[in-house]
Amino acid sequence: MTSQRLQHIALPLVGLGVFVAPAAFGGTGSVYSAAVLIAIFAVMAYGLDVIVSDLGEVSLAHTVFFAVGSYTTAWLSTKAGAGAWVTLGASIAVVLIFAAFIGLVTLRLREFVFSLVTYAVAVVAMSVASNWAFLGGSDGIRGIPMLDLSIAGLPLTARNDGELWPYAFALLAITIYVVDRFRHSRLGAAAIMTHLNPRLATMSGIDPARVRLQVFLVSAPISAAAGWLYAYQRAYVSADVLENYFLILMLTAVVLMGRRQLLGPLAATALVLMQEKFFSLGGYVDKIVLGSVLVLVLAFFPQGLMGLMRPLRRIAQRRAPSQTVITTVENPK
């Protein structure tokens, strides 16, 4: 109980620290730009984290959910003059349709066949996005207006990354809260049980197929919301939101720190983006670095960097280690 109470005090403090971090690091445009991108990409990764850590499957279609959010926002705000609340609602509505379709089609697929099909979805989505004139073809959609969330006379707008930061931070905080609630919910428990012991889950009256679909429907809007904010941040959207970069970034964010670490995807995204923004070795070398990190972590530290810390923490706490949940990425059988 004490550790939980500690968490209740620690989390808001960590949150406050994260919120003032860009100002503490100089508060320049590039710092805020990096901070906003870290928040957006971390939110995108949380969508995948729910599938990988809790459901134990690797969806490679989450770039599509991210892109659905971006494209819906771009299309509605430029062609129909929709405001930011409308585009957020529409992004979530459209992505739910996508997720339901992909979820239903892949309902009975497992392991690599599931991943193979979701990867195919991503590749096909990229070829459709870059060819379909309706979505701007290879030019994409330009001229997305600034973020305007004003309600009832209360002005809430963001003209630059500095002003966008509070909104990106809020989206991140809401996402982390949702993921935390999900893990403590009946559905979250059912997902873990389906993942670790499908037979026991079935005997406990859980329908694995139904749980899978529901988790899919929880996770997709998270990545789509990230895409929604990304469209406003970049002011244009093109097929490159479906590039492998986002997929590799998401996967790295999920595995780098270790599975089921609430702040893991955020910390990992921050590390990767800080390297790219402030210690870049050129675009191609950055690719090699990111890809290598992903491979090496899985090959040599399958429990993530936090797994390295575990023995240290055990010594510090001088008590038996708590039971850790083994996920698919660590050991399938």
Binding site: S115, L298, A299, P302
Partner: protein
């Protein structure tokens, strides 16, 4: 549209798909391994061949073996890193690692070869064969012949030789094979080296048909998925038939509907098969392999 011409295109394309997919067929069906970096390994094979021919002045017939050697080497490196996960049959982990390898290859190739498109011209691809109003290149004819030779050869090795028997034994039950004295580790290395060499060979043969870019490989990987799944995972003969069928479908779809959406159409075929015959996935000779 000239239907006969499209059928010829389809047959060539189909053999190209089958040839590109052969490494995956063995990898997945026989050793139960996956490689999501397959498309990038295809890209690497194409660029090494291009580099050897254009930059180093090596004749084309020698350039392809050079690409195959580098492909095999890369396959060995991948397998070395993934060995632990391979023995645990941790496909999820292997899958993500191969995606990472593909990404590293993409960055590395762009660094070494530049990001501009190139044309890989060979003596075979410059010479056309014209029969009436039909035409294809000698390269196309070589692709068809090479695919048939490779498939017949692989089938013979798997079914008729000691090496093939060992590979099938490891696929059936790695632990039992180990107890029986089979060097399982060497089989896994061999299978991955074959995957690397086979996809590089396919790239050396097929890449002259299209401009090559370091960002390519996605189209190839989708077509490979479709061929392997349609062929019934693990079946060498099935992959060949599926490849040719997919080639004909793609050629006709490209000519009749839209060339831009051929991979999307192929994917819809894949989805249809998965939804209609989810059980069909486990068909094939290695059905019991876990």
């Amino acid at each position: 549209m000239n239907l006969t011409q499209q059928l010829i295109n389809g047959i060539v394309l189909g053999h190209a798909f089958a040839l590109v997919a052969i490494g995956w067929t063995l990898l997945l069906g026989v050793a139960r391994l996956v490689n999501f970096g397959h498309g990038q390994m295809y890209m690497l094979g194409a660029f090494v061949t291009w580099w050897a021919v254009v930059k180093a002045g090596v004749p084309y017939v020698l350039a392809v073996p050079i690409a195959m050697a580098i492909g095999a080497l890369f396959g060995l490196v991948m397998q070395r890193v993934m060995l632990k996960a391979t023995f645990e049959q941790n496909l999820v982990s292997i899958m993500i690692m191969t995606l990472g390898f593909g990404y590293v290859l993409h960055g590395g190739a762009a660094l070494v070869f530049g990001s501009t498109g190139q044309i890989l011209d060979t003596a075979l691809s410059r010479n056309d064969i014209t029969i009436g109003d039909l035409w294809f290149t000698w390269q196309d004819a070589a692709i068809v012949i090479a695919a048939i030779v490779v498939f017949v050869g692989l089938k013979w090795v798997l079914d008729g030789t000691r090496v093939g028997r060992l590979v099938r034994m490891v696929a059936e039950d790695p632990k039992l094979a180990m107890l029986a004295g089979v060097n399982v580790r060497r089989v896994y290395y061999g299978v991955f080296a074959f995957e690397g060499a086979a996809v590089a060979f396919a790239a050396g043969m097929v890449a002259p048909r299209t401009p090559i870019l370091t960002s390519m490989g996605f189209e190839e990987v989708i077509m490979t998925f479709v061929v392997v799944v349609l062929g019934g995972i693990g079946s060498v003969t099935g992959s060949y038939v599926a490849g040719v069928a997919l080639g004909l479908f793609t050629a006709l779809f490209g000519a009749l509907v839209s060339p831009a959406y051929t991979s999307a159409a192929a994917f819809l075929v894949l989805i249809a098969v998965l939804v209609l015959r989810p059980r069909g996935l486990s068909a094939g000779p290695a059905a019991g392999a876990h």
